[in-house]
């Protein structure tokens, strides 16, 4: 039975629950905007990392370099797009 619940995955699940709880502090505590955003960014990206490495086995196949590059490239461009858009349309600089 225990082999059906491997330690790594259970830990990953618990960890993601903890991170969700940590993210919830921004709702319950009265943090400043910057502090709250830092918490959210940290918890969200760590959680994504947990999912990718722990659950999605991103590093297991022979194509891992390309898959990592694909993810990094995608995330980098996504961040550029989001922050570029904010820079142009919202922050107005």
């Amino acid at each position: 039975m225990s082999e059906l619940f491997p330690r790594k995955q259970v830990m990953g699940f618990v960890f993601s629950l903890v991170l969700t709880a940590a993210a919830l502090t921004v709702y319950f505590l009265d943090l400043s905007f910057m502090a709250a955003m830092t918490v959210l960014l940290a918890t969200a990206f760590v959680q994504a990392g947990v999912q990718l490495v722990g659950f999605m086995h991103v590093g297991e196949s022979e194509d891992r370099t390309m898959i990592y590059m694909n993810i990094f490239y995608g995330v980098a461009i996504a961040l550029f797009t989001i922050f570029g858009t904010l820079l142009i349309l919202v922050w107005d600089m």
Binding site: D63, M66, Y73, G74, I77, F80, I88, L89
Partner: protein, 652 residues
């Protein structure tokens, strides 16, 4: 009757009725012809259901050429209308529809399929593969593109064409200012074609990463394969942005959302922003494959290896990344502060550096070469000066402060035609002429081809160089008319003359195809250009399985090494070959997509729901389908290869 009013053309003109009749007659002629010659079965089994990358490539090619002429006619109409001041040939509405469809057709439905035509045909051959990674998806990509294109093209006879420019800026493209269904066509047909392109992107990346011949490391891939890889990487990350932009536009137009509207918090600038987040990488999607083609052609006809291969690769990788960092230069004048403008100016101009590296590398490839001016080479050499003008004016446009004066003027129009015509059209014509013998087993006439080249090259300059001046003289783009007092008349007339030159050039290409089909020699061997890469190591016409034995590669120019240094490429025993089966599903599913798009365009909700369910039913069918492909037996391969490979083995 009210129900049918929506299908009427809002601004009819005799020209549109004439085209309606022409379309109808052509359709009838095709149906009669197919029936009379009993070709329906052939059409279905050999083309509509094929998953062979070569056939799909050829279908892309046919579609691209058709669209080239559709967009070309639009262009001629525009130049004719503006050739003289106060011209009455077209009215404002008609002119607006014409330049909108010209832009969309040329970018989305001509340039993109042309690129994918050559990628499809060449890349699997160039990397020594039997097909692409997902042949069935490849067919789906094509048919989605094709149905998207057809959907867009019926707009001018059913319901009216889009008229808000190919950039379709809101709120002009919103329901308040574009009341016809034209912009719905824009949103949905590009969406359908775009999904196809995205699938292609995934397909080609996987193909190139996983299906290269043994020994072909990444840094041993031919340059066209490299550019295909990077282009498709841009496709994969840029097209989702378009998908969302179009989805949001559809939400606004069909479902009354207020994303880009003038009221309830909507933001018109957001459309411009999203459109160009996709739109700028799209420019590099168009141009990178061209760079690959030029690299192949210049190297072949200079009889030299490509100079600075590594810096070429580095520069395309850098371009691909930078292409995502410059989109704001399309709207410097939208009221951002000087900081944003400065940042994006610098990134924009920085792209010129890797592009410049390429130009110099090509020149250095020709240096010490033995240059033969065949038609593909003429296009490649002609590309360099024209594109240089396009490139340097691009740097000028990239300078934000000066752009305040160039923006929205004919200067801009001149610039992007100076980049896109040599950067895409020349490249495609070069690639077409270069790979034509591999595709069809005969060569295009060099003599007619050279005439066509000169008409096109000179026509391009005559048509677009004057626009730099009218732009600086204050002629805004997209003006359907101008008064005599502006003084734009003579230069616009010159542009029109150039456009006629271009038209003659393209007509000559058609004539060339006709002429060569009839008279060209069929006895040209498999490598008529004395080329350097693997695609020329196949039989002509290429067998369905491409290579009887998987090639072993150990240099960038595998075939050249084979021919000059006798390095063996095809070794080992012939084994049975696994091939995918043909399938009608991609075609059928795309037809349903067509109906789906059409229903949504006209807000016909019940058919829209039915077709949506049908699309998912097709996907479910695919999930349950058992299709393991088929094998080609060793005997069969040996029989088809008998005359050819044995002969080649002896010669080499």
């Amino acid at each position: 009757m009210d129900y049918f009013d929506r299908f009427a053309i809002p601004h009819p003109s005799p020209a549109i009725y004439a085209s309606m009749v022409a379309i109808g007659l052509t359709m009838i002629a095709i149906v009669i012809g197919l029936t009379y010659f009993k070709k329906w079965g052939y059409l279905w089994s050999e083309w509509l259901t094929t998953v062979d990358h070569k056939r799909i490539g050829i279908m892309y090619l046919i579609a691209a050429l058709l669209m080239l002429f559709r967009g070309g006619v639009d262009a001629l109409m525009m130049r004719a209308q503006t050739a003289v001041p106060d011209n009455k040939l077209l009215d404002a509405q008609h002119y607006n529809e014409v330049f909108t469809t010209h832009g969309v057709v040329m970018i989305i439905f001509m340039a993109m399929p042309f690129i994918y035509a050559l990628m499809n045909f060449v890349v699997p051959l160039q990397i020594g593969a039997r097909d692409v990674a997902f042949p069935r998806l490849n067919a789906l990509s094509f048919w989605l593109f094709f149905m998207g294109a057809m959907l867009f093209n019926i707009s001018f006879v059913i319901g009216g064409s889009p008229d808000a420019g190919w950039t379709s800026y809101f709120p002009l493209a919103g329901n308040d200012f574009s009341q016809s269904v034209g912009t719905n066509y824009y949103m949905l047909s590009i969406q359908i074609a775009g999904i196809g392109t995205l699938i292609s992107g995934i397909n080609f990346i996987t193909t190139i990463f996983r299906m290269r011949a043994p020994g072909m490391k990444l840094m041993k891939m031919p340059m066209f394969t490299w550019t295909t890889l990077i282009t498709n990487a841009i496709v994969v990350f840029a097209f989702p942005v378009l998908t969302i932009a179009l989805l949001l536009g559809t939400m606004d137009r069909l479902f009354g959302a207020h994303i880009f509207s003038m009221t309830n918090g909507g933001m018109d600038m957001l459309w411009a922003n999203l459109f160009w987040v996709w739109g700028h990488p799209e420019v590099y999607i168009l141009i990178l494959p061209a760079f690959g083609i030029y690299s192949e052609v210049i190297s072949t006809f200079s009889r030299r290896n490509l100079y600075g291969y590594k810096s070429m690769v580095a520069s395309i990788v850098i371009i691909s990344f930078f292409s995502f960092l410059v989109w704001m230069h399309h709207f410097y004048t939208m009221g951002q502060g000087p900081l944003s403008n400065s940042i994006f100016s610098i990134t924009t101009m920085a792209i010129a550096i890797p592009t410049g590296i390429k130009i110099f590398n090509w020149l250095l490839t020709m240096r010490k070469g033995k240059i033969k001016f065949t038609v593909p080479m003429l296009y490649s050499v002609g590309f360099i000066p024209i594109f240089t003008i396009g490139g340097v004016t691009g740097v000028m446009l990239g300078m934000a402060s000066a752009d305040y004066q160039y923006h929205n003027t004919m200067f801009l129009v001149a610039h992007f035609h100076y980049t896109i015509i040599p950067g895409v059209v020349f490249a495609m014509l070069a690639g077409l002429t270069y790979w034509w013998p591999k595709m069809f087993g005969f060569m295009l006439s060099e003599r007619i081809g050279k005439w066509a080249f000169w008409f096109i090259a000179i026509g391009t300059n005559v048509a677009f160089f004057p626009m730099f001046f009218t732009g600086l003289d204050g002629q805004a783009r997209r003006m359907y008319t101008y008064s005599e007092a502006t003084g734009f008349g003579p230069l616009n007339m010159l542009s029109f003359v150039g456009a006629i030159g271009l038209a003659i050039g393209f007509a000559l290409i058609v004539y060339n195809i006709y002429y060569s089909v009839r008279y060209a020699s069929r006895d040209i061997g498999s490598d008529p250009w004395d080329a350097r890469t693997l695609e020329w190591a196949t039989q002509t016409p290429v067998q369905s399985y491409n290579f009887a034995r998987t090639p072993q590669v150990d240099s960038i120019e595998a075939l050249w090494d084979l021919k000059r240094n006798g390095k063996p490429v095809f070794q080992g025993e012939i084994e049975k070959i696994h091939m995918p089966n043909s399938s009608g599903m991609p075609f059928i599913m795309s037809c349903i997509f067509f109906a789906w798009g059409f229903s949504l365009i006209f807000s016909m909700w019940i058919p829209a729901i039915i077709t949506t369910i049908a699309i998912f039913a097709c996907m479910a069918h695919r999930s349950f389908e058992k299709d393991d492909g088929h094998y080609i037996s060793v005997e069969e391969i040996k029989a088809t290869e008998k005359d050819w490979e044995v002969l080649n083995d002896e010669n080499r």
